[in-house]
């Protein structure tokens, strides 16, 4: 009975552990594109996987990094282990402790510190930095698997070899090395596994255009899950799984068989160790290199453009069209926040050619002399950008010399016409007791304070402590009425009629209105925040002319239209806006508010660390009351 229960328990654990992976494997064979439906078994995702150049390149990079880093880490790690083993016991344990710490360290810490290190030493982030990072984190694993083997080996065998006339090097390779070989091999496989497995460290140390499978999957998945990714993940899982089996069986098997194998069998295993494994590696690298160079015809560096943009912030078709029309090869890289983008530019670790930051960040970059002036003779299509947007831009780019607006939006109130019968035109409605528990606020310092400051008639970039305190008190007063402070959920809750009023970004408002026709968006009469994301060219860009070509291309009305339809954020391109087919959208006041409404809006400005801290302090007071 007891046995039965323990078996069930074990089975349950295994099911729990492997259910997610099994789901993934099953889905990778599902011919229907959606997860919800089973459309029969197919291998087509695997086929299309192998036809995707981007993925095949990532695969090759992954393999090369894994093999190279494992080989180098194995050499360094083994040498280190031998060095450590020569020390006295106490020094030895100190050393082992020191080498173990990086292994226990959180990956994210390792990743960020490596990135900072590379940046500090002005390394260009790219293939080499990933390789160095992988070598670094692999070394401890090698040491850890070699050290115990060294402990087991008899020191006298080395001395015996010397005694019989062997030179120290000969003695090491003939006598010591074979003894620790199982440890070296399992260290090697462990290193490969760790390298294949790693995402976080690669993510922080990679440069534009270089991807390993894991970072590739990550960026693909952010764009919506493709079934090819299931297939790829399945293959990766199996590879790591097989490697782990190899690691765990290798040393034990060696010992057991040692008694029974005759010299012939040993010769075979020797052959495998000494010839087959290295040969396979060489073959993999050569074939990979062949495929790689075929798909990735050597890029003429003059014909290149390195783009650094927000995720999901361009229609992929646009990139292909640009490449076709100009013959310029686009290396495309994405960032999540301005704050992640900024240090990469300011450090000069990577020379991007064209970047799309937000207003306040552009102000900061201009101030810190990171941007170069755009030659507008090369960007004639600038004429399609509405003058009101150029005017708005002057808040952060006073001379209009550094940036070309790309997307913009406002912050306003989204309300449900069924629930709010009165006219909504002021922020003050968010303080109306009638709507207690029906109000949604943004869970973000600057956005919340913008609402309060504007409702009091102040600038949303206020640096006046009295004004800020007044805003704080006003927010505290509002707290009992607020249903929740949220970010993305404003959208979903408003669509679901779960709240009457919410503070929202115009881009999201457009989307909610499509889903729920009762929703209305207004920019309150006191004014609000307008944000603008614009293209800029960093000072250290290597292909400035290509960047200008690219900006000019994006300003072409047909292209701007494609991007608008893909991104759905308002476009500053007035001629593109005229081309929008759907009249509801073309005439939408949400997407394209009246210029007078816009005039009352301000962009956020970078206030410096001191005010950052004050804002955060006040916001904490609000939240904790």
């Amino acid at each position: 009975m007891k046995k039965f229960i323990s078996k069930i328990y074990l089975a349950l654990i295994i099911i729990l552990l492997y259910a997610p992976i099994l789901t993934l494997v099953v889905l990778s064979f599902n011919s229907s594109k959606t997860r919800a439906k089973w459309g029969g078994i197919t291998g087509k995702w695997y086929v299309s996987l192998f036809h995707d150049d981007g993925i095949m390149n990532a695969l090759y990079t992954t393999l090369v990094i894994a093999l190279l880093s494992a080989v180098i880490a194995t050499v360094i790690g083994t040498a280190a282990a031998i060095g450590i083993s020569a020390y006295r016991q106490r020094t030895k344990s100190i050393f082992m402790g020191v080498t173990n710490i990086p292994m226990l360290n959180a990956d994210i810490v390792t990743g960020i510190s490596l990135m900072l290190l590379f940046i500090a030493f002005k390394f260009t982030l790219g293939f080499k930095t990933i390789l160095l990072a992988h070598i670094t984190f692999n070394i401890p694993y090698v040491i850890l698997s070699v050290a115990p083997k060294l402990k087991q080996t008899n020191k006298s065998t080395y001395e015996a070899a010397l005694d019989l006339g062997a030179s120290p090097i000969y003695a090491f390779f003939k006598v010591v090395f074979p003894d620790i070989l199982p440890g070296v091999i399992s260290g090697f496989f462990l290193a490969i596994t760790m390298s294949l497995d790693d995402f976080i460290i690669t993510h922080f140390t990679k440069g534009p255009g270089v991807d390993t499978l894991s970072t590739k999957i990550y960026s693909e998945v952010r764009k919506g899950i493709k079934p090819e990714m299931y297939a790829l993940s399945t293959i990766m899982f199996l590879t790591v799984f097989i490697l782990l089996i190899l690691i765990n069986t290798n040393p034990k098997e060696n010992k057991k068989t040692e008694h029974i194998i005759n010299s012939k069998a040993r010769k075979v295993s020797k052959l495998i160790m000494h010839r087959l494994i290295p040969a396979t590696m060489v073959v993999v690298i050569i074939i990979g290199g062949f495929v790689y160079s075929k798909t990735n015809k050597t890029v003429d560096s003059k014909k290149q453009l390195i783009v650094y943009n927000w995720g999901e912030y361009i229609d992929p078709k646009v990139l292909t069209m640009f490449e076709k029309e100009t013959g310029i090869n686009v290396v495309y890289e994405e960032f999540e926040t301005n704050e992640i983008m900024y240090p990469k530019i300011s450090s000069g670790a990577i020379s991007y050619d064209v970047v799309c930051p937000s207003d306040y960040m552009i102000q900061r970059m201009i101030k810190n002399n990171l941007l170069s002036k755009i030659d507008f003779d090369k960007v004639p299509n600038i004429k399609h950008i509405g003058s009101q947007y150029m005017k708005q831009s002057r808040q952060f780019d006073p001379t209009n010399e550094y940036s070309v607006p790309y997307c913009w939006g406002t912050v306003g109130i989204l309300y449900n016409k069924k629930m709010v019968k009165e006219k909504v035109d002021s922020w003050n409605i968010l303080w109306n007791k009638k709507y207690k528990d029906n109000i949604l606020m943004q869970d973000s310092v600057r956005d919340s304070f913008a609402v309060a400051l504007k409702s009091l008639g102040y600038s949303l970039n206020s640096a006046d402590l009295d004004e800020l305190n007044a805003a704080k008190n006003k927010l505290i007063k509002q707290k009992p009425l607020v249903q929740a402070y949220v970010i993305d959920q404003v959208r979903d809750k408003m669509i679901g009629n779960e709240a009457a009023l919410g503070v929202i970004y115009s881009g999201e408002a457009i989307y909610t209105q499509k889903e729920n026709p009762n929703l209305e968006y207004v920019i309150p009469k006191e004014g609000s925040n307008v944000w603008i994301d614009s293209w800029v060219i960093p000072k250290n860009a290597k292909h400035k002319e290509n960047a200008e070509k690219f900006i000019n291309f994006l300003c072409r009305p047909d292209i701007a239209l494609l991007n608008f339809e893909y991104i759905t954020y308002s476009t500053p391109n007035v001629d593109a806006a005229k081309l929008i087919k759907d009249p509801d959208i073309r005439n939408s006041k949400t997407a394209f508010p009246d210029p007078k409404d816009l005039d009352r809006c301000e962009t956020f400005k970078y206030l410096g660390t001191k005010y950052d801290r004050i804002y955060n302090e006040l916001w904490r007071e609000v939240k904790s009351k």
Partner: protein
């Protein structure tokens, strides 16, 4: 006279505070079988490692064939070692183990094959070529280690208790084998053991060591019959060592009884140590010996009886083929030339000091 092959001059070695070898001098002649004998921890292995080149002495030098090799790397020395813990290569077959030194010397394949076969035959392990090290018994491992040590015909073979793991029969066989090898191959042997019987059986010369000092150097006969101090006497075989007084030349007073002896030159009425081997004591009827005693203990040892006879307050160890039951009274007689007189050490320190030849 054969020449000095190895000469150790003023060798001292200490590990931290622990002085293991203290100003040691020793030479080994060509084709000699020399044994280092001493209790555990007395520095035998250390001395061997200094000769082999695995340790360097704090002071002194190692002269090999007239050349100073004190700082020469082990692999450059023309001597091989059979280590106390074998030092066999686990991942190689027996044949590969033995062939190791030959391969380094870049010998031809057929030469190596022949030599391996020959070496295996020498140690009575023919046909073991393809066996693995793990599959051997302790004794077989030791013999393989010996085979590997001699196969490249070094000038000197250092052996560190090579027969420790063998049973008595096999050990005796191997002792004869080693002597035969020495004679056949003309190799000089430096042999370490703490088994005094083994030392007496095999050696041309025995070096008795204690606490880093050489106590006595001599042929097995010298060492056994004329131990130069109580330590050597006690360490080599069983002995009765008595505090005694040299009355005058050729007369010694042991426990109040006067014994005739053959030793001269110790002075008059000087305290000395007298050594009498247990097999040199004759038990005779009461009253006919030099003094009388009572048998207090008896053990049958195979070839002889080992008895304890209490006489004049001392327990005398006696080996005899005649049996005297416990409680029987006996007389004790010792022939003059069976008594060995030794100078008494004047201080503790002197007890362990070097006695140069």
């Amino acid at each position: 006279m054969a020449k000095k092959l190895i000469d150790l001059v003023n060798i001292s070695k200490s590990y931290g505070e622990n002085l293991v070898l203290d100003d040691l001098n020793l030479y080994v002649k060509e084709n000699e079988f020399i044994t280092l004998l001493g209790p555990s921890g007395c520095g035998k292995t250390t001395l061997l490692r200094i000769i082999g080149g695995f340790e360097s002495p704090n002071t002194g030098s190692v002269i090999f064939d007239g050349k100073d090799i004190t700082n020469l790397a082990p692999n450059k020395r023309q001597l091989n070692t059979v280590f106390q813990n074998y030092g066999l290569f686990n991942h190689m077959s027996i044949a590969e183990n033995i062939a190791f030194p030959l391969k380094i010397k870049k010998k031809s394949k057929s030469y190596i094959e022949d030599k391996v076969k020959y070496a295996l035959k020498l140690v009575n392990l023919d046909g073991f070529e393809t066996r693995t090290v793990d599959s051997l018994s302790g004794g077989q491992k030791q013999r393989i280690a010996i085979a590997r040590g001699i196969v490249s015909e070094p000038k000197v073979l250092l052996l560190d208790e090579p027969l420790g793991a063998l049973d008595l029969k096999l050990r005796q066989d191997m002792q004869y084998e080693l002597i035969r090898l020495k004679n056949e191959l003309g190799i000089t042997f430096i042999y370490v053991t703490h088994d005094q019987e083994e030392a007496l059986t095999m050696s041309d010369k025995i070096v008795v060591m204690n606490q880093g000092y050489i106590q006595q150097i001599g042929t097995p006969e010298d060492i056994y019959n004329e131990p130069q101090n109580a330590f050597v006497a006690d360490f080599i075989g069983d002995s009765n060592i008595f505090p005694a007084v040299m009355v005058h030349d050729k007369l010694v007073k042991i426990l109040g009884a006067e014994f005739e002896c053959v030793d001269v030159g110790f002075g008059v009425n000087k305290p000395v140590d007298a050594v009498i081997r247990p097999e040199d004591i004759d038990l005779v009827p009461v009253g006919t010996g030099i003094l009388d005693g009572v048998v207090t203990h008896i053990i049958f040892k195979g070839v002889h009886y080992e008895m304890e006879v209490t006489a004049n307050g001392y327990k005398w160890l006696v080996h005899s083929t005649d049996m005297f039951p416990v409680g029987s009274e006996v007389g004790i007689y010792v022939k003059p030339f069976e008594i060995q007189i030794m100078k008494k050490p004047e201080s503790e320190d002197e007890e362990a000091i070097v006695i140069d030849e």
